[in-house]
Structures are given as structure tokens and as C-alpha cells.
Amino acid sequence: MNTAPAKTFDGSEGLRTIEANKPSSKVLHLPESEPLRLACDQLLAPVSIAYETYGELNAAKSNAILVCHALTGDQYVASTHPVTKKPGWWQTLVGPGKPIDTNRFFVICPNILGGCMGSTGPASVDPKTQRPYGLNFPVITIRDMVNAQARLIDHLGIDQLFCVVGGSMGGMQVLEWAAHHTDRVFSAVPIATAALHSSQNIAFHEVGRQAVMADPDWCGGDYHAHGKVPRNGLAVARMAAHITYLSEEALHHKFGRSLQKRSKLTFSFNADFQVESYLRHQGSTFVDRFDPNSYLYITRAMDYFDLAVEHGDILANAFRGTKTRFCVVSFTSDWLYPTRESREIVHALNAVAANVSFVEIETNNGHDSFLLEESEFFATVRGFLNAAGVKRGLKV
């Protein structure tokens, strides 16, 4: 495909492979004797959970906030990414004096199970074969990711998290925590998310997966053994997905029909338009830091997520008896996880008379808004955590 980003091996893939198995962050290694029982009924062992922490855990262990990352996120929520050298993906929200204030709270951010930044996933070396798992890795679910995180929280000696926060797929993990580890979650902030993955979202994921699998360099999932990487396929998957993270208005505002470093159309399939150039850049930089098989597994886990179906098709049953304080946040221009889906979560929580706040933030930045510095959103998180902190007896 000659229009896809042509990029030669520049060493970042080597760095990425190293990070997948020997991450720069902290790692919890669960031994063979402590397997993780997965939703598919397989046992997975040994399991590594790579994570970062920020701030100090107080003596009562009552100030811990778990941050759950989204599809392509990682544990470097507020510190420099070891491969891209970019600042943490939520550094505007998490840090000293920030809404998630690391002067007050102990922030834990693990790389998800199935990820490629040091937690066990398809890019990890299977100790039995001494080769990357690839497609031998079991299909995992959001619940499996959360169960792995619960092991980490056990390991850190924390009975109850002060808060679990996350956007998009991170929000799914928040809901999963609140539904299945109810007593361990004092407060929960699910952002720009849904209690089930919609048909449209599954459809977009399928396009992404097919793009990866259609790349001959994917090699049936065994590209590691062939010394190849399905760069073009993963880049196209990322380009398509990236459109869903924005909004028509945001794209129009940012690019319009502006041409890329040229004054007239070239009558070719080069990136004439700025928006094309932008998407190609997004695709190629993503490939530098992400494992293609991981992308398949994680999108699948999101597709399988349906909190209602596990509870007799009644979402409210997932939260019955909950004492957790919830703050649900959505964004007006998010068409991937529209406000309607957040409202369904709120209705379910109301149906069990749970303690819930719900805020819709007005913005034209689409789904990506949760990663951006939206002042109203930040004020909401700060206000909610302060009030929850008072209830929790934390020092102001």
C-alpha cells in the first residue's frame, strides 16, 4: 500500500519489545503458583503487572487512587513515556496540585493485562516456549484486567481504594471494579464510557482488526518469529480509530480543507490535505509504541464488555447494594461513547438509589476530550474528590 506511512526500522520497535518484557516501571510478578483464572476459563500464569505509583500511601492506606488507562494507554499516566519520551498521558490531571493531587493521594496506574508495556500480554515471552505468546495468548476480558489489578492492590496491602478513575476503556474498568469489587471502591469516576460496547463501536474495532490481519507482515499473528511488524495494518487501524476519537466539528476547526505544505492539488494520492497528513502521522507514531497483537486482544476485550448481560440484562443489578460514591462524566461531542450511554449508567445507579453525580461537559473535542485540559471537567473531578475525601476522613 503506497499511501501508508513508509517508515523504516528505527530502533523504537526494539525498545518497545524490551519494554514489553522488562519495563522501566515497577512490576509485580505473580508466580506460577498464583494463576489468574480468566473469563474464558483458562488459567494464566505466571502473570506480570507493570505499574507506576505517584505520591505516598498514608498510614491508614486510605488515600489510594487507581487510574485505569484506555485502549492504547499505559502505566505512565504522569511520567515520561520510556519509548516516545513524551509526558504522561494524563499529566495535566494527575500530579502535585493537580485535580488528582499526588501531594494528597497515592496514585497507582497499572498497565492492563493484555497490554504491551510490561504487563503480561501477547508480546510477552511465554516462559514455556521462550517465544512471544502471539495468538497463543488467551482472549481476555475487562473483568480479567480488573482481577489482575485487584492482585496488585492486594500486594500493595490496600483493602479499599479511595477512588477508581478512568476514561473510555478505563471507565469500563471503573464500572467493573464498582460492580464486582464493590467493598473495595469508596468512590468511582467513570468518564466518557459505557456499560456495554455498542454495535457501532464493535464495528469500528472490527475494521481495525481486519486492517492488522490483512497486512501480510502480520504473518498469522506470528510476526515476531518472522522478524516483521504489520506496520501498515496497525497504522490504518489507528487512523480509522483516531477519527472516532474526534468530532466532525473538531476536524473542521483544526484542518478544514487546508492543503498540506502545498498551494494546489497534486492530482495524486499523496497527502494533499492536512487532515490526511495528520492521520498518517498518528498512524505511524502509534506503530512505534504499540504491539499489533495487543491491539487485537484489547479491542476484543472491549467488544465483549457488557455489564448488564452478566446481571440478567438489568444493569441496575450490577450495582445493587453499592455504597460507592459515583461521579459519571460525559462530553457533548463524544459520539463514540455518547452522553446517552453515560445516562444509562446514571439511571441504573438511581434505580438502586446509589450516591451518584452526573456531569455532561460541553466541548467540541469529541471522545478525546477526556485526555484534554477541559477546565470544567477538571473542576468537577477536583470538587468530587475533595467532597469524597471529606467523607473518607482525608486531610484537606
Binding site: 438509589a353 452526573f358 461537559i361 473542576a379 468537577t380
Partner: protein, 213 residues
């Protein structure tokens, strides 16, 4: 009387102070149409309640949550059906019922969700309104109901007598009822409503769906 809350920007509204007197300390309260959360904050500060709010305006919801109140964006017509029976000790509808689409259904929901319902509303039977309509022949505009008819959100204005009829219709019990005159003085509603209906500018009713022992 309660002391005014120093945390609040202005002095508390007289109807809020009355509602605060009606609410038992430590109870669970749902405030429907909670605005900026003044009443919830008053009740939290003085009655140690477990409070929730519902508010239509997104900006006001965000202001409430930023202040640490548990408030959702929603409205009385759409969002009350979700709540389970008797989930709250008090379901409050403060100066909002006249702006709902289906006041009867809203009132029935309040009485279902709360062991008690507290409803306050502007009294359309007030003498000032009656005289304006009588002598000017136009929809009244008063400091209490300032918008012209075409800009007013109030689709279902009623008098105190009208409201009492609705209470009977939904088979609710009036536990207490107070009207306020223009200067905020209380006019307890006793057997005859006519005087209160004439001089009361706002009214507050404490209701329950059945007689409490």
C-alpha cells in the same frame, strides 16, 4: 429558627429555612430541581443529611458537583421513574412543580420515592396576580413570577386551592402546610384556605402517601 449558613452567598430563602425545619436530622433527601444546591448545602450543614440532587441546567449541575454535592443532570418528568420506592426519607420539589410537563405524575413519583414529599410552589391565587389579571387583562408579572408568558418556563401554574385538590386526587396526606406573604412572613394554612390563597405568595406542603403512625 435555623441560623443562616455563613457558607452561602446570600441569606437562605424563607421557604428553604422552613423546609430545613421540616426535615429530620440524618435523613436521606432527594432535591428535585436543586438549582445551585443551596437547599442541599443548607440541609447538609444543619441537618447532616445524605443528600442527592437533580437539576436541569448543565451549568448548575457542574457548579453543584464542583462544590461536592451529589447532583445529576436530569429533570423531574424524565428521571424520577428510575428511583425505587421509598428510597428517600424526603423527596423535595422546590418551586419546580409548575415548570413540569406532568405535575400529577411528578407528584405521584415524589410520594412513591420518598416517605415524605415536600413541595413548594408560587401561588397563582395571590391578590396581586388576581388584581393584575382583573384590571390589566393580561398575564400577570410579579417579582415572584417575573417572566412574560412567552418566556416563562412555568407551564402549570396553580393556586393553593388547586394544589390541595391535586393532593386529594393522588390520595396523599397533608402533614403540614405553610404559605408566605410578600414580606416572607408565615401564614399557616388552617381549615379555611381562602385567606392564605389570597395573601400567600408561595406555599410549602409536607405530604405523605399514607398516614404515619
Amino acid at each position: 429558627m435555623l441560623k443562616p449558613d455563613i457558607l452561602l452567598s446570600g441569606p437562605p430563602r424563607v421557604d428553604h429555612l422552613l423546609i430545613a425545619e421540616m426535615v429530620t436530622p440524618g435523613s436521606r433527601v432527594l432535591d428535585v430541581g436543586c438549582g445551585d444546591g443551596e437547599l442541599l448545602q443548607l440541609l447538609s450543614a444543619h441537618k447532616d443529611i445524605d443528600g442527592r440532587g437533580v437539576e436541569l441546567s448543565r451549568d448548575r449541575v457542574n457548579a453543584c458537583v464542583t462544590r461536592g454535592l451529589s447532583v445529576i443532570q436530569g429533570d423531574a418528568d424524565e428521571d424520577l421513574a428510575d428511583y425505587p420506592d421509598q428510597a428517600f426519607d424526603y423527596a423535595i420539589l422546590s418551586l419546580t412543580i409548575q415548570a413540569t410537563r406532568y405535575p400529577k405524575i411528578v407528584l405521584e413519583n415524589l410520594l412513591r420515592i420518598g416517605r415524605h414529599a415536600i413541595v413548594s410552589f408560587p401561588n397563582f391565587g395571590h391578590w396581586r396576580i388576581r388584581t393584575q389579571l382583573m384590571f390589566a387583562g393580561r398575564m400577570p408579572q410579579t417579582p415572584n413570577l417575573p417572566e412574560p408568558w412567552y418566556a416563562s418556563p412555568d407551564a402549570h401554574l396553580c393556586t393553593i386551592k388547586d394544589f390541595v385538590d391535586l393532593v386529594k386526587l393522588v390520595d396523599a396526606v397533608v402533614e403540614s402546610a405553610v404559605a408566605f406573604n410578600t414580606s416572607g412572613r408565615r401564614l399557616p394554612i388552617r381549615r379555611s384556605l381562602s385567606l392564605q390563597n389570597l395573601f400567600g405568595e408561595k406555599a410549602v406542603f409536607l405530604l405523605s402517601s399514607h398516614s404515619e403512625p
